[in-house]
């Protein structure tokens, strides 16, 4: 058998993909150069001068939020497990109701650059800022390592010839360039471009899936209810709309449904506590624009997750799990790219691969800027230096250095952890955000009595309990060779939210009730007026 034609295909495939990668990178570097020329001063660097419009910020929130784990991961989960994968999609949109109803507008009205601004408004600034900064850096680091390890593995598959290390260094290096030189403005535009590409790619794939079924929904649904594939060597036909193939009690020793509820809780409450989502609300001129941007984000994010029906069930029916194979092994992450290849040939495969790459870059850039903003603004200026800048523009300088350090550390960690399954770190980031950040944010908006001790206890308990529960969960402990810690898991759920979120709230309440602090209650009056009228809120910078 002559292998030459296959090699030729591989070569053209990698070239098309490479050109698409490079044009995306070139476009984002132009944006960075343009942003670096325009931005000067702290508000420009940290908040893009607060002059991002509603639809732009909505797209950027979508770009910040929809990770490769969603794009490739959920499509793959649906392709292999049907309905249960789609169940995953729902929580990501519903979560934005919490953001819209409770967090976005008060946060914009009472803060400057970080979520800690709002907490520090009522409370003793140094302890709450130090704690909030710790929690922000933890969430961002976990999330970032998961993204970078995913990026390395993905680029290796999509661009044969590029090693894991090269991919990680490339992604990390680009992310550092965007954030260090372009600040929030460049990060925002990278996210907007990515959101546009992701929606275009998903829409294209969805239309092609429907074309495959002659644009007939009944035909498509009929195929979904009769998916034939090999399971342990036996050909089976399964109804992929049936729930329970992945999280059902029968396949998970009974804990699956509870785990799903725990995950849902972390998604629905954690999104409103994710630092990289929250910082986006400081980039718009006022609370009304912040509200409009959540609505735009809900349209974009909802449309995308709705389309996972076509991407996932399309891959399940057109390819069937039998054909989603890389190097002889089933690989669910490749479902969407392989579906693109089957429906639109190499060019579409290359385009979808480039979209996945753009997706990762936009998310890690958002994480890096939120981590470095929190370190520079909360920890450096307000904790170490007692609110005084020692040199002009010191805060921005510290943030740039932090972005570089955070990027470098992530590259090293991602290379060290490449063989470990780190997917659980994304769940952990949501759990920490929901258990540590959300109780502090919500109670400082709504509870007059809430105080410094309560906020610090909430964040400490939420952070510690999420991490501790993950460490003793089946995500980390196990009795097979792949487990990080050998031994039977002590906590049955993979998602700690169901326990750690109530613990965070409990910490907040007990910490408050067992301490006395007057200022916090009287400042509550001012916070209430600011949060609900926008009086005294940070204005957009004049150009």
């Amino acid at each position: 058998m002559n292998v030459a034609p296959f090699l030729a295909i591989a070569a053209t495939k990698s070239h098309t993909a490479l050109w698409m990668f490079l044009s995306f990178v070139a476009a984002t570097l132009v944006v960075t150069w343009w942003s670096a020329r325009r931005s000067s001063g702290a508000a420009a660097y940290f908040a893009a001068g607060r002059r991002i419009t509603g639809w732009q910020n909505g797209l950027a929130i979508g770009g910040d939020y929809m990770s490769a784990a969603s794009f490739l991961g959920i499509a793959g989960m649906i392709a292999f497990n049907g309905y249960d994968g789609f169940l995953y999609s729902v929580g990501f949109l519903v979560a934005y109701l919490t953001v819209l109803f409770i967090v976005a507008e008060p946060l914009r009205n009472t803060g400057k650059y970080t979520m800690a601004d709002m907490l520090a408004f009522r409370m003793s600034p140094r302890p709450v800022r130090a704690m909030a900064s710790l929690s922000t850096l933890t969430v961002s680091t976990f999330y970032m390592i998961a993204q970078m390890v995913g990026a390395g593995a993905l680029v290796k598959l999509l661009l044969p010839g590029v090693s894991y290390e090269m991919a990680v260094v490339g992604v990390g290096g680009l992310m550092i360039i965007y954030v260090v030189f372009g600040g929030m403005l460049a990060t925002t535009w990278v996210q907007i471009i990515k959101a546009g590409l992701l929606i275009t790619g998903s829409l294209l794939l969805s239309v092609l899936v429907m074309r495959h079924f002659d644009y007939s929904f009944p035909k498509f649904i009929d195929a979904i209810t009769h998916v034939s594939f090999h399971k342990n060597g036996v050909l089976v036909t399964q109804n992929f709309l049936e729930p329970g193939l992945k999280f059902g009690a029968a396949v998970t020793h009974g804990w699956g449904p509870l785990d799903m509820i725990s995950l849902g809780l972390a998604l629905v409450l954690g999104t409103a506590g994710l630092p990289h989502v929250l910082v986006r609300f400081y980039t718009v001129p006022d609370a009304r624009t912040a509200r409009a941007s959540v609505v735009w984000a809900m349209i974009i994010i909802g449309a995308f997750y709705l389309m996972t029906t076509f991407l996932g069930f399309g891959a399940a029916t057109i390819l069937t799990p039998d054909n989603i194979v890389v190097g002889g092994k089933p690989n669910d992450n490749m479902s969407a790219p392989l579906l693109a290849q089957a429906l639109g040939g190499e060019v579409l495969f290359a385009f979808i691969s480039a979209v996945a790459f753009a997706t990762i870059l936009a998310v890690v850039a958002g994480l890096t800027i939120s981590a470095s903003t929190s370190f520079a603004h909360d920890f450096w200026t307000n904790v170490v230096h007692h609110t005084r800048e020692h040199r002009p523009d010191e805060e921005v300088l510290v943030a740039r250095v932090t972005a570089f350090v955070v990027g470098a550390i992530s590259i090293v960690l991602a290379i060290k952890l490449q063989t470990i399954n780190v997917a659980f770190l994304v769940g952990l980031a949501f759990a920490v955000a929901a258990s540590a950040n959300l109780p502090a944010i919500v109670l400082s908006i709504f509870w007059r009595r809430f105080n410094t001790a309560g906020a610090v206890t909430a964040m400490a308990v939420g952070l510690a309990s999420s991490i501790a529960l993950i460490v003793i969960s089946p995500s980390v402990m196990g009795t097979d060779a792949k487990a990080l810690i050998y031994g039977a898991p002590l906590f049955p759920l993979k998602n700690p939210g169901l326990v750690s979120i109530p613990l965070g709230f409990l910490g907040a309440i007990l910490g408050t009730l067992f301490s006395r602090e007057r200022a916090s209650a009287s400042k509550f009056t001012e916070l209430e007026v600011r949060a609900n009228t926008g009086l005294g809120a940070e204005k957009a910078t004049e150009h």
Partner: protein
């Protein structure tokens, strides 16, 4: 009273450092001294605005939480029932999941409509105090 005496000092320490490009706190630009936070907070129109918001946000949040968590609970603990075909071959589980998207969008639309009214009410309160 105690609060108002303390307020300027605490404000300085809490609102964080002032960026070099904007001398003076942006919060107080446009009016002299600190706004009368206490007076506004006790204004009947302002209290009504807050009550209005709570009247929307609390039931709406309770509704979407119940509606959303009904999905994993029903699918997880009554998978047989949720597998029943409802609309030709589409089963209850899929239709319920699909309905969550529209639930979220519709609730968001209701919120935006109510928020436009709150914007007008908030502006009216600020006008009353000559702050807008």
């Amino acid at each position: 009273m105690c609060f108002r005496l303390l307020s300027p000092i605490r404000r300085g320490s809490i609102r964080g450092m002032v960026p070099p490009e904007s001398p003076g706190s942006e919060a107080t630009r446009g009016f002299h001294g600190s706004p009368p936070w206490e007076k506004i907070a006790h204004d009947p129109d302002f209290r009504r605005l807050l009550a209005d918001k709570i009247k929307f946000v609390v039931p709406a949040t309770a509704f979407f939480l119940v509606y959303y968590f009904a999905l994993p609970v029903l699918v997880g603990y009554a998978p047989k029932m949720m597998s029943t075909p409802v609309l030709s071959q589409l089963n209850a589980a899929y239709l319920f999941a699909l309905s969550q998207f529209f639930m979220a969008w519709i609730l968001a639309a209701f919120y935006v409509r109510a928020a436009l009214r709150w914007d007008r009410e908030a502006d009216a309160v600020l006008k009353k105090f000559d702050l807008k």
